[in-house]
């Protein structure tokens, strides 16, 4: 690769460079009260994967949306394949070879996978009569080529967030694109899916194509990116070959300060009583037999592959999915949570993995979103809302979480993806829960903020709160959890103490076939020495 000679003066590489697929100079995009992009530069060279990194709200998605014709720029020069780039509308961009996978899913949930992929370009007689079989074949062929095992005829509403992300990827790759823009494609993916996505990218890259790859998962950049560009507050900071880049200085360039990444969980003071005990929980079709317990002040990781049923386990537990079997005891007393509201009243909160559909009130303000869970017990007297109190608390929480917004009256839909995630987390931090279930809490959150959230969770645990952390990000699970429960095909196949847990042991359990019942008991016993009080003693 010939990039070294260029990145001496990356920002100012001469205009007519044949190697340049994309060339952006001085891009500006303003929103009311927000200057999303100011003087942004970007070069994408033929044959490279360019990683674009920056804090939440730095302007990554905005820049990509400019290139993809979603937004119209306020200023800047844009060149594509050496010629000035003019796009009118997303479709036009795609047809010019600029394909984008947006950070947020943009699918039609009532249509099938195939219909979604080819919407607007479907095979049709006289451009009117559809040809379902042809469409299906086309889609099947594409999915096979991409090695995705998705049923082209499956309705999108039946797919997991992860699977829906794959549909988006397939859609983007179905255009023969020169430039492929991926805005946090792996946020909803776990290790395996991420790996297969990287495989796709490697196959996509030829001497004439290029990829812009946005991610907050630093460790994966090294695996896939040739070059990394750092931006901050809508401005170009630096770009350097991945080979020469150390994680630390990338992060430092990103956040403008050094972040010390913690290692391993703070050790839990043992002998804490069991606060929550779940036995034989079943919620068809995705949860077969979930048995685990949670100690006060403990962070219990819940790991597993996509479709393992972790989300369902959590939702069945709090009563937002039907249960067919299983007993739950909370503080030693048997309970049946009738609804999330019921669970919340008893001090159990659940943060959904799907912030857009199940988390946010997109058309509402930051304050309205954050105050929601705590409203009834913190911000009202006799049914009247204490708006001041709520406002102040929300402002506080936002400051703590570094929520990037002009003010708390900003509509959440105008916030960056990661910032939105912070808002939903803030919602539960405002309510004083004893048990918090975080489902993919750091999805889309930048490294700096991640560490802060880890800190927060640690502090919550230290303050005696009990946390269940569902995450597909193994390093994160290992970094946070005192114990790690692993799910496979709807069963808890094992619970590992912090000491014994590592990527291998987790993956082993995550892929364990279903002699689950046995293996669960085994791990139970070996757990009793890692943590003295297991559920039985906990009961008294």
């Amino acid at each position: 690769m010939t990039l070294e000679e260029h990145d001496a003066d990356p920002g100012h590489g001469g205009g007519a460079d044949p190697e340049l697929l994309l060339e952006v100079r001085g891009a500006v995009k303003k929103f009311p009260g927000v200057r999303a992009l100011s003087q942004m530069d970007l070069d994408l060279r033929a044959g490279e994967v360019l990683a674009l990194v920056g804090e939440n709200g730095a302007g990554k998605s905005t820049l990509m949306k400019l290139l993809a014709g979603v937004y119209s720029p306020d200023a800047g020069t844009y060149r594509y394949l050496g010629r000035p780039l003019t796009v009118n509308g997303p479709r036009d961009a795609a047809e010019q070879g600029l394909a984008i996978i947006h950070q947020e899913l943009n699918l039609m949930s009532t249509l099938t996978v195939a219909e979604n992929i080819y919407l607007g370009r479907e095979p049709a007689v006289a451009r009117f009569l559809t040809r379902p079989t042809r469409l299906r074949a086309q889609a099947q062929e594409l999915l096979d080529r991409l090695g995705m095992n998705l049923d082209p005829m499956a309705e999108v509403s039946t797919l997991s967030v992860a699977q829906q992300q794959m549909v988006e990827i397939a859609k983007a790759l179905s255009y023969d694109a020169r430039v492929l823009i991926m805005d946090e494609p792996t946020a909803a993916l776990n290790e395996r899916e991420t790996e297969s996505l990287h495989e796709l990218i490697r196959r996509f890259i030829t001497p004439t194509t290029g990829v812009i790859y946005i991610s907050h998962r630093m460790e994966e950049l090294r695996r896939i990116a040739d070059r990394v560009q750092v931006i901050r507050d809508g401005e170009y900071v630096d770009s350097l070959p991945m080979a020469e880049a150390t994680l630390e200085d990338v992060i430092t360039k990103m956040v403008g300060r050094s972040v010390d990444t913690g290692t391993g969980p703070r050790d839990v003071r043992t002998g804490r009583p069991v606060i929550l005990e779940v036995h034989g929980l079943r919620s068809e079709p995705r949860v077969k037999e979930a048995t685990f317990d949670l100690h006060e002040g403990e962070i219990l990781g819940l790991a597993g592959l996509m479709g393992a049923g972790r989300t369902e386990t959590a939702r069945a537990l709090i009563g937002s999915l039907p249960r067919q079997a299983g007993t739950v005891s909370y503080r030693g007393r048997p309970v049946q949570f009738r609804s999330p509201a019921h669970a919340a009243r008893l001090g159990i909160g659940y943060l959904s993995e799907d912030r857009k559909q199940l988390g946010l009130l997109l058309d509402h303000s930051v304050q309205r979103n954050m105050e929601l869970s705590a409203l009834s017990d913190r911000f009202q007297t006799a049914g009247f809302v204490q708006d001041r109190a709520s406002h102040d608390a929300v402002v506080d929480q936002s400051r703590q979480l570094r929520v990037k917004t002009p003010d708390v009256a900003q509509l959440v839909k105008n916030l960056s993806g990661g910032t939105q995630q912070k808002v939903v987390i803030g919602r539960w931090l405002l309510k004083d829960c004893d048990v918090l279930i975080f489902d993919e809490p750091t999805r889309g959150i930048d490294v700096g903020a991640k560490e802060e959230i880890y800190e927060l969770i640690d502090e919550l645990a230290a303050a005696g709160k009990s946390i269940i952390m569902i995450s597909s990000d193994l390093p994160e699970v290992l970094r946070m959890s005192h114990r790690i429960a692993v799910m496979s095909e709807g069963r808890i196949t094992g619970v590992l103490g912090a000491a014994e847990a590592d990527q291998e042991s987790i993956m082993a359990l995550a892929t364990a076939e279903t002699e689950a019942a046995v293996s669960t008991d085994v791990t139970r016993d070996e757990r009793t020495d890692s943590i003295p009080t297991d559920d039985r003693t906990g009961e008294q």
Binding site: T130, T158, Q357
Partner: protein
Amino acid sequence: MSTTTTATAADQERQSARRGPSWRSRLQQMLAAGTLVLIFIAFSIASPEIFPTWGNIVTILYSTVVIGLLALGATFVITTAGIDLSVGTAMALCAVMSGLFIVNWGLPVPVGILLAILFGGLVGLVNGINVAILDLPPFIATLAMMMVAGGLALVFSGAAPIYFEAPSYMWVSTGSLIPSVPNAVLVLLVGAVIAAVLMSRTVLGRYTMAIGANREAAELAGVGVTKWLMIVYTVGGLFTGLAGVMISARLGSAQPATGMGYELDAIAAVVIGGTSLSGGRGTIVGTMIGALIISTLTNGLQILSIPQEWQDVLLGAVILVAVFIDRLRKRSGRTS
């Protein structure tokens, strides 16, 4: 409402997850159909020698025609997560136009009918422009059109019925190409087939659902949402125009003041049939069944000569039950 996508939807859809949408809507139709059969059996038992006779079945079908046609058009509009409250009075307006064309201007019957139908399309197009280009909420845009069309029907007709002389016009509704099957019923049948093809076999249907499911996503995918929305409302209008022709052919006159209230029956038929008001899903077969459920109930209650004040009560109750049965499946995957 349309936020009911991905995960929770996913949860609710469990059963049908792998089978995909076709299976799903088929199931829905089966359920609606089940209710219809149930109702039919019930009435047949209650009045064995009158209700289940061919004569009465024809009566039922005949009384389904107008609502059925309006409901067919409404299905497209509703599938885009829209609504059309103007169909009732617009139907009256189209009937009046048909009267003007044929009686006052003396155009040949077929031409007049065609023009009346096209006029319906025009009304629909105006709705489409208001919704797609002016970006007005469908409810209010079509509510306004309801008033305008109702007023114009009176203006154009001089607030008096227009009586058709040409028997060939009445024949369109009352004649029988096929012995003992009134043409009106055939028209409804043909209309339903056309609608079904449009909905399930053409890009129009595909885009209709796409827009209803997620308008912005459809836009991003390059679907000309504005254009297609206008087309959808126009299609709805064409069915309204046809309904206008059929009702005036049945009555032998264009009644300018009639029509108010039909819109709700039409929408009810669509929803009972399983099409969701939040858009994204539309089933023509379901709509037909929905329309039949309403007209069968009305007919049956009148055949049993239930006191009129009770007829409404029962009608309402049965509609609730019908929709509830259809809902049960969805709820089965749900708590709270």
